[in-house]
Amino acid sequence: MQAEQLRVLVTKIGFDGHDRGSRVVAAYLRDAGMEVIYTPPWQQVGAVVSLAIQEDVDVIGISSLATDHLIIPDLMEALRAADLGHVGVVVGGIVPEIECQALRDAGVALIFGPGASREDIVSQVAKLGTDGRKTKLTSGEFAV
């Protein structure tokens, strides 16, 4: 039996199309042995939620380089409404210091700014995913 593989959704919401960062991070996570579901930018909140359900992901990574992070509280609410509270949400890119707390209050687990190291991203995403999976499997209908 193999260990259950971490599955991470890497995506962008909102109108900004700068996707180099999300591609680089997708490659980092792939090289760390994770299965990355990659989408192009311009996703809508509803599409991200149904993607997360269908792909049974452990972590959602949102890349935001303009003001897209301002939509993230809406995403968090939609995820909770869809019973996806166990899925860790990570934001990467450029989030002004002054707005970080609002994201954390909305439930975002990790925020990576410019200069974040590959090692940090990989290890913290892995930990977040593993913890989230445990929560999911030990609670509710999937409890063994």
Partner: protein
């Protein structure tokens, strides 16, 4: 007494899968991909609830436009009022086990549509264009009530023909300019096609590719199979209606095959894949000492290659206990519906 509520919850998860709950289906697929005891039990439980879905496979070389064409085909099916599930297989890294699953990139327009279920599946070391868990995943999607399942293979070269075992309709894609007419007469995926598609027909030389495929079929006239060659441009949504009609016609043909025959064929695919996986797993568990002992004898000429191969297989099968739990191997209860799998 204490365990009763838990058992009820598990039954209801399985029941919800049968009732079409997408989140439960997604979770079940992850379990089937991972393998292990619960996965084995679930696979057996699912077996009693399958047989109504038809599987349409799309295969062809990387970049031929499989995902884009599937996107257009799914849109056409939705226009015709069908619900459809898509399983898109992409390769896992042989080095790290990681994967970037990007087939959905071309299917974004269906993301928020409740009538479409899309799941990306990593091949996880399996060669042949699919993942070893695909037959079991097909059963799960089938049991969840999806009547049409579109299966996209890894970008296939020439020998990834295992899909023919488990699909009802095989659509093989070609793109213009990928090779000369000798490529068209080589053995391989072109032979398993029920429908041949020349995608990107807006590109130069598309006509030539169509002619090459026609002449290939001429040479195979003896088979007496009517294999249509269709030109599509998935990007411009050209030829999609014709493709959908051709697939529907093949599905009607496939329905002439009885449910029982069909289930048996998929089951055979499943058993063979499992057997291969077990042999491969066991070979990877071969100890250095055992390997050295056999190698030594072969290199000294005391054993032929054939005898050594037999010895190798005997060694790995005697050394390692079966990976399957007793519950599956020697069930106390013959009805898998009563088995416990956390589902």
């Amino acid at each position: 007494m204490l365990t009763e509520p838990a058992t009820k919850a598990k039954e209801s998860a399985f029941q919800r899968l049968l009732d079409g709950d997408v989140a439960v289906l997604a979770r079940a697929i992850s379990l089937l991909e991972t393998g292990g005891t619960d996965s084995e039990v679930l696979t057996n439980r699912l077996r009693n609830h399958t047989g109504s879905a038809r599987v349409v496979a799309f295969t062809g070389p990387p970049g031929a436009g499989k995902s884009t064409l599937i996107n257009a085909y799914v849109a056409e099916l939705r226009r015709r009022g069908h619900r459809v599930a898509v399983l898109a297989v992409d390769p896992s890294s042989p080095l790290t086990g990681g994967a970037v699953l990007g087939d959905r990139t071309r299917m974004g327009e269906h993301s928020a549509d409740a009538g479409v279920f899309i799941r990306s599946v990593a091949s996880r070391g399996h060669l042949g264009g699919l993942a070893s868990s695909i037959p079991a995943i097909l059963d799960a999607v089938d049991a969840a009530g999806w009547q049409i399942i579109v299966l996209e293979t890894v970008g296939a070269g020439q020998s990834e023909t295992e899909i023919a075992e488990i699909a009802d309709v095989n659509v093989v894609l070609n793109a213009p300019g990928l090779g000369d007419d000798v490529q068209a007469i080589k053995a391989g995926i072109l032979e398993i096609a029920d429908i041949l598609v020349v995608n990107k027909c807006d590109l130069p030389h598309a006509d030539r590719t169509v002619r090459q495929l026609q002449s290939m079929l001429q040479l195979r006239k003896a088979e007496r199979r009517n294999i249509p060659i269709l030109s599509t441009s998935a990007d411009r949504a050209e030829g999609i209606c014709e493709l959908s009609d051709a697939i529907s016609a093949r599905i009607e043909d496939a329905k002439k095959v009885s449910q029982e025959q069909y289930r048996r064929r998929r089951l055979k695919g499943l058993l063979c894949r499992r057997a291969e996986a077990i042999v491969r797993n066991r070979l990877s568990s071969l100890s250095e000492a055992d390997a050295d002992r056999i190698l030594e004898q072969v290199s000294q000429g005391k054993l032929s290659i054939e005898t050594a191969t037999e010895a190798l297989i005997a060694t790995v099968f005697s050394a390692v206990p079966s990976p399957y739990p007793q519950q599956v191997l020697n069930p106390k209860d013959d009805d898998p519906d009563n088995w416990d799998c956390g589902f």
